[in-house]
């Protein structure tokens, strides 16, 4: 395999406390040395990373690929191309595909497609219950054997707390991580917006914060009871941050992530009725956003994910409540994370940790680091590059982003997957 030298870049590898300019040597798909030239190393390819940042490839905890089942919105090939252009080298696929990931056959199908797309690190999350219907446990052991990295019921509700308890006990039996989207369906109902000032004014069915924080509190109680390792996915509000902070202080083995858009946008953005801002959990108040940002800084929140949900045009055309929720977010993940570091006292190294070693650690993966000997999943980006979000610069099949036609700063120039250059930015003339 090729020997590659990445030269003159600012290397940020949070897991190894590295933030310095120097070389990275890669051979046989693995990192050979960082900040020093390896002995007897004659590179066949040199990447000049002057004025760029070299970091581990990003590990995204929630990416909808829309395959199998929703290929009008995207497919494994289109969305993994978008992932590579965004520096994302490992991703978790939630189980709400069609058919859902509740049998080894579906896991195999995805694995096969992933190999054909040259993107092996799609980590399927198995369904917690059969058909995600919330009543009968899935064959979690078989799913784990087939390669599922965790279990989850995606956004689907569970029948009752007893089912959640049993599911957690059973997941713990097989040492499976539960990824839990905290949502008490009876309280969120048919809501499509935060139950705040904007929903009040516009007559939009609201979702109270308590719909999330009550479900979160119940899950934390059951984590204590069952010993199940729990990761809370895409939290959105102040009370969730507070409850997580208490649980962590108490010593509970729990982690959490936040979707990048929740760190930037609030309920005010949806006015008057822009369906590109229709997301679940909904965009909350400025106070909630402040707590989320602080939670990230103080470590209550462990990871940032894209919560990528590409949609076809029709899904977003209609009166706000009837449109489908979600944003296509892979390709804005890096620039929006960089914007946080510039505006809101989050260190660059910490922000990169939230995208790399921390989510990898949650999943028990060895990736997200540039440690010599580890697989060379590398992202190189230009933190100063401005680029307009438009069709020319966009690979996801879904264009449903609130940032469409805006200019963002920070762009991936190279992505390496196991030492192989798989993406290189081609500047338009």
């Amino acid at each position: 395999m090729t020997k590659i030298l990445i030269n003159n870049g600012r290397i940020i590898d949070p897991a190894n406390n590295i933030d310095a300019i120097g070389p990275v040597c890669i051979a046989d798909g693995k990192i050979v040395s960082v900040l020093e030239h390896a002995a007897d190393f004659t590179p066949e390819q040199i990447i000049d990373a002057s004025s760029q940042i070299v970091c581990p490839g990003f590990v995204d905890l929630s990416v909808r690929l829309r395959e199998p089942g929703h290929t009008q919105k995207g497919n494994i090939l289109s969305e993994t191309r978008a992932a590579l252009s965004a520096g994302v080298t490992s991703l978790c696929l939630p189980p709400d595909t069609k058919p859902c990931i509740d049998s080894p056959a579906v896991v195999e199908f995805i694995k096969d497609k992933a190999e054909k797309a040259d993107y092996p690190q799609i980590h399927s999350i198995g369904a917690l219950t059969q058909r995600l219907a919330g009543s009968e446990l899935s064959a979690m052991f078989a799913l784990k054997q087939a390669g599922c990295i965790a279990v989850s019921n995606a956004s689907e509700p569970l029948g009752n707390l007893l089912i959640l308890r049993r599911a957690m006990e059973y997941a713990a039996t097989h040492d499976l991580l539960l990824m839990y989207r905290a949502n008490e369906a009876a309280l969120s109902g048919k809501g499509c917006a935060h139950e705040g000032a904007v929903a009040s004014r516009y007559g939009l069915p609201g979702i109270p914060e308590a719909a999330e924080s009550i479900a979160l509190a119940q899950c934390l109680e059951l984590a204590e009871l069952t010993g199940c390792r729990v990761h809370i996915s895409q939290i959105s509000c102040k009370q969730s941050v507070i409850k997580l902070q208490q649980a962590k202080k108490y010593g509970l083995n729990v982690t959490a992530d936040v979707a990048i858009h929740q760190l930037h946008l609030t309920e005010d953005n949806i006015t008057p009725f822009d369906s590109n801002y229709h997301v679940l959990p909904p965009l909350r108040s400025a106070i909630d956003r402040q707590y989320l940002r602080e939670g990230l800084v103080n470590g209550t929140i462990d990871a940032i994910c894209s919560d990528h949900q590409p949609h076809d045009l029709d899904a977003k055309l209609g009166a706000f409540p009837e449109t489908e929720a979600g944003v296509a977010a892979l390709e804005t993940l890096l620039p929006l994370t960089l914007a946080l570091t510039q505006q809101h006292r989050i260190g660059l190294s910490q922000a990169i940790a939230n995208l790399t070693c921390k989510p990898a650690h949650i999943l028990g993966l060895a990736s997200g680091v540039l440690t010599p000997g580890s697989a060379a999943d590398v992202c190189i980006f230009d933190p100063q590059a401005n680029w307009p979000v438009n069709r020319d610069n966009w690979l996801s099949a879904g264009c449903n982003t609130p940032y469409w036609q805006q200019t963002l700063t920070g762009r991936v120039t190279h992505t390496l997957l196991a030492g192989k250059p798989v993406y290189r930015l081609v500047e338009l003339p």
């Binding site: 139950e195 009040s200 516009y202 007559g203 009166a319 706000f320 009837e322």
Partner: protein, 321 residues
């Protein structure tokens, strides 16, 4: 953005989707224009040729006899050709999308859509996606807005109270689900009333009602004290089924308007209701039919106010005769 989409570059009304973003001057212009049409219904010839040759389509995705009829009447009196479509029972239930319906009608060269829809934001959505020469009038979208109803209510208030300054207004009942209340609150505050109170149990008030420029109250005696205008809202029967209220009779006991409760208001207070009325649920018959009730005048005023809004929106398009 709401202002931008509703007004032309010259600040004239193009669409009428919500009261939000419209200033006092424009609302007053609507009321003044309506005033000039109001006398017309007593004439032998009830028509003016303002919109002759124009085609107006009433697109009702949700049934409503009263609102649709007044819109039809208003359009007819402006000499427009009117087509009313009940889409609740038509194309969209066969899988045709909202946008397909709109584009099909556009292809027939219509000039204005009057839209009623069960979802908040539907009128905005249609206005954003129609051809630039078409005006959209919101005849009620979900729980968001019903701005023509609010304007006819303002017209009725002005008839009786002459001006808005200093008025205390109470809106009573199901504020949470009411597009009428949302539009009334915006209109009353824009026109400069002294105070808007909303009186309801907590289950029927929006979560952040205080941010809407109103004083929330839960007691009728206190809430009606010294008010000039009492607006009662219709209580939908299905609210009993989803734990908003225990029963109609308990609601009437707490929030129903009776002669005794009305005595707390000013002696010359007027009583309004957007209709249709649930007698004995939100209002006692003796009050609905009593001397302070202006409920039927609201209905008559609906035609003049809708004529005003339709003709203003068409004029800004430069298309009126």
């Amino acid at each position: 953005m709401t202002r931008h989409i509703q007004l032309t570059e010259q600040g004239k009304l193009k669409h009428f989707l919500t009261i939000e973003g419209l200033d006092k001057e424009l609302l007053t212009e609507i009321l003044d224009t309506a005033e000039s049409f109001a006398g017309m219904s007593e004439h032998q010839v009830k028509k003016v040729p303002l919109l002759r040759g124009k085609t107006i389509v009433n697109l009702f995705f949700e049934n409503s006899t009263r609102t649709r009829t007044t819109f039809e009447l208003a359009a007819t009196r402006l000499s427009a050709d009117v087509l009313s479509m009940n889409i609740a029972t038509s194309a969209t239930s066969k899988g045709e999308s909202l946008l397909d319906t709109i584009h099909n009608l556009e292809a027939m060269h219509v000039d204005m859509f009057v839209v009623r829809h069960a979802l908040s934001g539907a009128a905005h959505f249609i206005a954003q996606h129609t051809a630039p020469h078409i005006s959209v009038i919101n005849a009620g979208d979900g729980q968001h807005a019903h701005p023509t109803q609010a304007m006819l209510d303002m017209f009725t208030i002005r008839q009786h109270k002459k001006q808005f300054e200093g008025l205390k207004v109470a809106i009573v009942g199901d504020i949470l689900h009411s597009r009428v209340a949302r539009s009334q609150i915006l209109a009353l505050n824009t026109l400069g009333v002294a105070e808007v109170r909303v009186i309801a149990p907590k289950t029927l008030l929006p979560a952040q009602v205080k941010t809407m420029g109103v004083i929330p109250m839960h007691d009728m005696d206190e809430g009606l004290d010294d008010v000039d205008v009492v607006i009662m809202l219709r209580l939908q029967k299905e609210r009993m089924n989803s734990a908003f209220l225990p029963s109609e009779s308990e609601f009437f006991r707490c929030f129903g308007l009776t002669e005794a409760k009305l005595k707390r208001a000013k002696a010359d207070a007027i009583v309004m209701h957007p209709g249709p009325i649930n007698r004995g649920v939100e209002i006692a018959s003796s009050v609905a039919d009593g001397p302070q009730s202006v409920i039927l005048q609201q209905v008559s005023n609906g035609v003049a106010v809708r004529m005003a809004i339709m003709s203003m929106a068409m004029h800004s398009q430069g298309g009126a005769a």
